[in-house]
């Protein structure tokens, strides 16, 4: 504006002074402008996320009447939770599921070290193939897998039949059902693990491998002495993500087994119990307490992993 009428020299002086002013101003405040940017989102997060957390915490101390209305019942929901035998069972189920899905991490490390070999052809194609399951809709692939696991004519049992093995009714037999769901979980998460680990792999300086080769280290030795140790930060990250999302198991379970499945009590996850109590049984107070339990378990597991990371994660 006014600056345009000034000579170039004075313009730069002006600019320097303005920048100085700004720097000084920056330590204080940009006035009311920031609020214009921030208020819609912060208000939305407050209404739909922050306040609900506080409410859920409160609800966990209440009992919900059939016709609405809540009554404060202190710790009763928590007492009930500790006496409820389906809770430890579902925690165990969730842990088993998570452990199976965690097996995808070593698989991803091996696959990534193959895909990321310098100059390997079709690397992009392989990445695509392995990544596709991750982006598919769980509700849709759940239906497909349910058919694949079908006890009468599913291809898995047909294949087992070739060896004279009578396959079980996978999705309706306790034990097998959880294994079936967890295998699909592993299949879905592999692409994500692969991407993160591949990115970590690309950061490892090639000189290390060259030096090792000159020293006569075999490929297997290189893999265990260079690749794996230097990948530990990526491995740590996918482990955290896998454990957190493992405890969120719901979609696959719901779609592959269905509400009416008789094996559900032995297979259900914590989130499924939460859903069942909150929206099918309409016992929202108890469900809220289960929600708090999920939060506590995830927080403890994550804290535990951060605590022990020093023992095995190498940050260069």
């Amino acid at each position: 504006m006014k600056a345009q009428t000034l000579t170039p020299a004075s313009k730069s002086v002006r600019a320097a002074r303005a920048a100085g002013d700004r720097r000084k101003g920056k330590s204080k405040s940009d006035g009311w402008w920031p609020w214009l940017f921030v208020v819609p989102t912060v208000a939305g997060i407050g209404v739909f996320y922050l306040w609900p957390i506080i409410q859920t915490f409160y609800y966990s101390f209440t009992k919900w009447g059939v016709f609405g209305g809540t009554k404060f019942i202190g710790l009763d929901n928590y007492v009930r939770m500790f006496a409820d035998s389906t809770i430890p069972q579902s925690i165990l189920n969730t842990l088993i599921y998570t452990v199976v899905v965690l097996l995808g991490i070593p698989i991803a490390v091996i696959l990534a070290s193959l895909i990321e070999r310098p100059g390997l052809r079709f690397a992009a194609l392989y990445r695509t193939l392995y990544f596709i399951p991750y982006i598919t809709m769980p509700a849709a692939v759940g239906i497909v897998w349910r058919l694949i696991y079908n006890g009468d004519f599913g291809p898995i049992n047909w294949f087992l039949g070739l060896f004279g093995i009578q396959g079980p009714y996978w999705t309706s037999t306790p034990g097998f059902a959880l294994l079936a769901v967890a295998t699909v979980g592993l299949w879905m998460s592999l692409g994500f693990n692969l991407i993160i680990i591949s990115a970590g792999l690309r950061e490892i300086p090639r000189e290390l491998f060259e030096a090792a080769e000159m020293d006569g280290a075999s490929r297997v030795r290189q893999f265990f002495s260079i690749t794996v140790p230097l990948l530990t930060p990526s491995i740590f990250f996918v482990t955290i993500v896998t454990v957190i999302s493992g405890f969120q198991l719901f979609d696959l379970l719901y779609v592959m087994m269905g509400k009416a499945n008789l094996a559900m009590p032995q297979t259900q996850s914590l989130v499924y119990i939460f859903y069942n109590q909150a929206f099918l049984q309409n016992d929202k107070g108890y469900a809220a307490a289960i929600g708090i339990l999920i939060l506590v378990i995830i927080a403890l597991l994550t804290a535990f992993q951060f605590r022990i990371q020093k023992r095995w994660v190498n940050y260069v």
Binding site: P34, T41, I45, Y130, A140, R219, S234, D251
Partner: protein
């Protein structure tokens, strides 16, 4: 509340942004200070790759053949469920239920795909899914980028405190929001409506954080120049900074599309009629009604995931980079 305190508190986020910088497209996203180590590694990695091309390639051929064997067999195994799905969607119900499994139908049953529209509410569910995805993407792109920009590059009171609260919400599992969110939607009379499915998901603590990280990595000069030209913060944001954040926005768009299209639990809770439900809910409920019409189920599920698959195949690099940034879905 100081920044350094935040960074120790949100350890997962810091790893997340570390991964973001390591992702396929580094895209000018400057990592925050705590990612110094990763950044360093990335730099040396690139250098190393340059030097490598001169290296001996002698014994690599044999090893590469082995790699191709493992990778192609594994890759085939990964997509075999989808190939199975395609074949079954084109077969008759009798062929689906035959053993040994049908490798290719004797007569290709294209009409299965048309039948999906007549035997379930596929049309309306597709519309709901598209609508919630589009609205959520537009809402998040606008709101998260504005808020992320302010948190990255402006000063205001309680900034650190608000940011700390927002970040801690990212770590909280969704079960802690669901019941009160349901009540809000119920009280607004929005059950079984697109508005009800969309409302909470327009706001995203994660999206805000993602965009903040991205804006923090942009240079000051352009912003300063625009300010000197007398542009107000709104103009600076929309004309100068937002176009610069295209890579970050892509990541946000992709994550939001995936999440919105595939999400099951929340829409399951707020919809009870087949017409109001998105595809994820429709498919999971279909199991009971059409449990035995397998070709229709396969055709419906294939069509439900097709748009995302096509999006992925068209922009693989962007999707993988976007997911690399996302950490958690």
């Amino acid at each position: 509340m100081s920044e350094s305190m935040l960074s120790t508190k949100s350890g997962v986020e810091s790893r997340r942004s570390g991964v973001a910088t390591a992702g396929p497209s580094r895209a000018g996203g400057k990592p925050s200070d705590r990612d110094g180590a990763d950044r360093d590694g990335a730099g040396r990695g690139t250098k190393g790759r340059g030097a490598k091309s001169h290296g001996a390639k002698g014994g690599k051929q044999g090893a590469n053949v082995l790699a191709h064997c493992v990778l192609s067999i594994g890759g085939l195994a990964m997509i075999s469920p989808l190939l199975y799905q395609i074949v079954m969607s084109l077969s008759t119900n009798a062929e689906v239920q035959s053993t040994p499994p049908t490798l290719w139908p004797s007569v290709v049953q294209w009409h299965n795909f048309a039948d999906v529209f007549t035997s379930m509410n596929f049309g309306s569910q597709l519309w709901v899914t598209v609508a919630i995805t589009v609205i959520r993407v537009i809402g998040q792109v606008l709101l998260c980028s504005m808020a992320g920009y302010a948190f990255a590059r402006m000063q205001f009171r309680f900034k650190g405190l608000i940011l700390a609260v927002v970040l801690s919400i990212i770590m909280v599992p969704s079960q802690l929001f669901l019941i009160p969110q349901y009540q809000i939607i119920q009280n607004l009379g929005w059950l079984n409506s697109i508005a009800g499915i969309v409302a909470p998901g327009i706001f995203s603590a994660f999206g805000l954080f993602l965009m903040r990280q991205f804006f923090m990595g942009l240079p000051d000069e352009l912003e300063d120049a625009a300010r000197l030209d007398g542009a107000n913060p709104f103009q600076i944001f929309f004309r100068v900074m937002l176009p610069l954040a295209a890579n970050g926005l892509w990541a946000l768009v992709i994550i939001t599309v995936l999440w919105s299209w595939n999400d099951l639990l929340w829409p399951l809770v707020v919809t009870s009629t087949a017409n109001a439900a998105p595809l994820s809910v429709g498919l999971s409920n279909l199991q009971g009604e059409h449990a035995n019409n397998y070709p229709i189920l396969m055709a419906a599920s294939l069509m439900a995931m097709a748009p995302i698959l096509i999006m992925f195949l068209l922009m693989q690099k962007r999707v993988m980079a976007g997911i690399g940034r996302s950490g958690l879905k």
